[in-house]
Symmetry: D3
Subunit: 207 residues, 6 copies
Amino acid sequence: MMSETQPLPDAAPICRYPTPTPTTLDGLPADVRQRILEVQEKAGFVPNVFLALARRPEEFRAFLAYHDALLLRESGLSKGEKEMIIVATSGVNRCLYCVVAHGAILRVYEKAPLLADQIAVNHRKADITPRQQAMLDFALKVCLRADEVGEADYTALHAQGFDNEDIWDITSITALFGLSNRLANAISLRPNPEFYLLGRLPRAPKA
Amino acid sequence: MMSETQPLPDAAPICRYPTPTPTTLDGLPADVRQRILEVQEKAGFVPNVFLALARRPEEFRAFLAYHDALLLRESGLSKGEKEMIIVATSGVNRCLYCVVAHGAILRVYEKAPLLADQIAVNHRKADITPRQQAMLDFALKVCLRADEVGEADYTALHAQGFDNEDIWDITSITALFGLSNRLANAISLRPNPEFYLLGRLPRAPKA
Amino acid sequence: MMSETQPLPDAAPICRYPTPTPTTLDGLPADVRQRILEVQEKAGFVPNVFLALARRPEEFRAFLAYHDALLLRESGLSKGEKEMIIVATSGVNRCLYCVVAHGAILRVYEKAPLLADQIAVNHRKADITPRQQAMLDFALKVCLRADEVGEADYTALHAQGFDNEDIWDITSITALFGLSNRLANAISLRPNPEFYLLGRLPRAPKA
Amino acid sequence: MMSETQPLPDAAPICRYPTPTPTTLDGLPADVRQRILEVQEKAGFVPNVFLALARRPEEFRAFLAYHDALLLRESGLSKGEKEMIIVATSGVNRCLYCVVAHGAILRVYEKAPLLADQIAVNHRKADITPRQQAMLDFALKVCLRADEVGEADYTALHAQGFDNEDIWDITSITALFGLSNRLANAISLRPNPEFYLLGRLPRAPKA
Amino acid sequence: MMSETQPLPDAAPICRYPTPTPTTLDGLPADVRQRILEVQEKAGFVPNVFLALARRPEEFRAFLAYHDALLLRESGLSKGEKEMIIVATSGVNRCLYCVVAHGAILRVYEKAPLLADQIAVNHRKADITPRQQAMLDFALKVCLRADEVGEADYTALHAQGFDNEDIWDITSITALFGLSNRLANAISLRPNPEFYLLGRLPRAPKA
Amino acid sequence: MMSETQPLPDAAPICRYPTPTPTTLDGLPADVRQRILEVQEKAGFVPNVFLALARRPEEFRAFLAYHDALLLRESGLSKGEKEMIIVATSGVNRCLYCVVAHGAILRVYEKAPLLADQIAVNHRKADITPRQQAMLDFALKVCLRADEVGEADYTALHAQGFDNEDIWDITSITALFGLSNRLANAISLRPNPEFYLLGRLPRAPKA
């Protein structure tokens, strides 16, 4: 992890609201605490969204249950493609937390250090397949103009090999992160500094 | 209920996806089935969103957990005010299901048969208090331009007596129903016919 | 009529401007007064737009002359279809008066208690024919982006069986109610409470 | 008039619809014909909008009655100011007919050969008074976002000396020409060539 | 020139910034002064943009070098077509200086006194060829939504006979005048009065 | 430089147009070639925009002359602040090339590895001063709504200590990169892979 070399830019709070600190999770319900410790072990740090949501354990559990239902689900979409959707829609929603955090995850999943920046800025210019372009075109329509979605959109995705369950996945992932984009923007949630560099460097060869 | 007098306009499916029918809930997990039976007993019919989400029990549970966490929570917002937020934001998102279903709930909660139409069309013309106007102004900003939310928005709400927990509630309710607006629009979820008339008539005097 | 059961929510004035009251129409020119009495006899109440326009008799006469020329005219559009146009465009213009008042008229004409809400919120989700969908697509384009209307729009409507006189009708109805939407919004014209429920209930069988 | 020096660029029809020609007005009702002859005598030519509307005499009469009620009315707005409203709103509605025809009238009324182009392109850069700037700011809000008009807008206009009747005038002129902008754009109504140059040249001194 | 008959409307400064006056160019670098004198000799007056840019000689030289590179270049676009692009995009950018100044140049080049007003207000209604319509459609897309330009846009232009160098020209002219539109609007640059009438009158026959 | 570890993702051309390759600059005019060699020596690679513009040497020279005039100029804005403007406006213009290339330069100038991502996604959430926030607010207004810039904008910037020359700089930098954003998007200019990582890592201590 980068924590030695990438110090926190300042001691700014992680959002507008008081949150538990990673080192004092004691007041939290056991399952919430457990979930945070698990992600910390896996990532090497506690992503700030976990701390912000932990203020309200029921919302914490509900959000993560929805998140897991969609992102851990077997699907016609790969794990990397699901992250592409999150990064593209968070980009047009101008959500710093989600672009930076899920950009990192996308780089790691796809082993593609340039991809997240391309998709966050303008997915039309990204190094992705036509099928993935169609997926992101649809995601952005759900994000920005869901009221106009109709038969022609389903047809276009079917032509790229997506079935209706895949379309439900694209829709729901877009919708769930539209939720977190709005919350993160309204509470000014800061991305952990570690995310910015994650997945940008080649892995060191194992000893 | 209106079911005798208000027949289904046609045998149109409730959305683009196959769903369990209210009369054959047997294939569903017990908790999902139980929750559907409860709402049916309370409302007199099964709101279509329950059937659509029941296709995917994990998402059903997560959505309802989030819903309950926000809507059943003790809050500086009344239950009616929470529904105002849903109706106003679903109006600008042009989501038929949520405008009609939550419009009905709003009418019932507030015992105000005209209020839902006012708020769905243009909240500035609704018979609500200045505090509620400010609440809906903020909700629409979170809905449409969350990236621009900042200090001045918090200050304006504080001036109306909302505290930061109330603001979290307004934000999160807006965000959660932005999720369901996008899903409902993309799958063309139809409101149950019963919702359209609910709360519009004075209650018959008890015998 | 609903007046017994649906009391005026408050004694709020019907708009920002002083208007004649239905019970004291005496100061008005005879033709204006006559027209108001006719609509009162037919509807059971005086729609507020008549009182607001009566402040300026010449504008009252001109608006109603335009209204009658378009809405009473024999046309390839049915009376219900003309009201669909008014409801759909008033919905995107967020005009409470016209959505509620013409929504009522649409329900009555089409004997379709759910239709007005569907069209006001999102016509793409309404129970209407493909020909009516095309009609409303065009009406919304005239409403929002008339500068982009061109040959292709005429061709699309011809393909649905509309001729050029029908297209003139769609255009002009959209344009006339764009006028009244702007006026009603700017003066905060309130719909009569009676409109909200009109056409939502099955008619009682005649004795 | 410019007709000798400014030939019609081509024999293009004046709009998408067949119209009476200025030289053969015989089929028209007497009052419509009379009105057209009057304007022809005054202007030296028949403005194309008269011919287009004459296809439907009732709409012709209604439009002109509304037009006269607003534009000939004694008002806190000068005749030139009324034309400023028409030019500014027709500019943002991108209506060629109204920008060119009413631009000409504005130049003539105000004896200001540059003013119409300034207002049509960007009223903020026009040589007008702060009071007129406020008037046009409000007109553009009614034109583009009438649903957001509220108390603060009235207050701002009162501060510039406008009373509520003036505000009704600004609103209604904006709304009426929003009607004609939509119709003219949808039928591709061409401005008469004569309008383009009218009021741009100093008048020849009288002999 | 019109200067005798078209006096400056007032002694308003030409923009928000102090500029050299046409009669006292002495403080300017020799090349800048020379360029200004050349355009004055050709046009009969000094276009205000030259004086505004002369405040900063390096930017003056760079802008004019870019301008000359694109506008004097041999191209698949005629000189008049290049001016059409400038007028159409300056119209949607609402830049008074560029609409008026380049509208004048367009009228002169094309000997078409009505064309500039048509293109500035709504190019879809202008008397131009389908090829020129396609050119302006593309220019407006580059102006307003360049991030969405893609393969289909190139194909549409190729179908009208434009090659890739022509497309580069359309793009770059749009982009360069997008620059000057922004600068002119931000500094409130006034068009010279002479431009408004230029090219509107038939040339006097030579003696 | 990263070139050993960060291979080009594929042999994709750098844009839609054929360009000189960095290794064969021979056909280029001497000054263009010289400028390219200089930047290559300084950066360690040739930024692709140099190769794309070199197709047209006159435009290459003009763009770089404008660039240098604004970016090398002594100013009330620091070099880092000038890059902030470029990154923020390129973000809203969704220009991949400029966000990535100037994001790198901003990181290097400010020695702030997180800053470019913050500003590109949502400058309101960036770790910058209130003065810099005001600067970027104005830059985005020039970028998106220059026609609405007026006195109040100048006043707000003066209150933050900017003088009129600084405002000219903000405006002109915004305008110039609006030009390059449009060109880069229309020709699909790819950022060099080297830019993505530049300035993200702490510098190795000197031996």
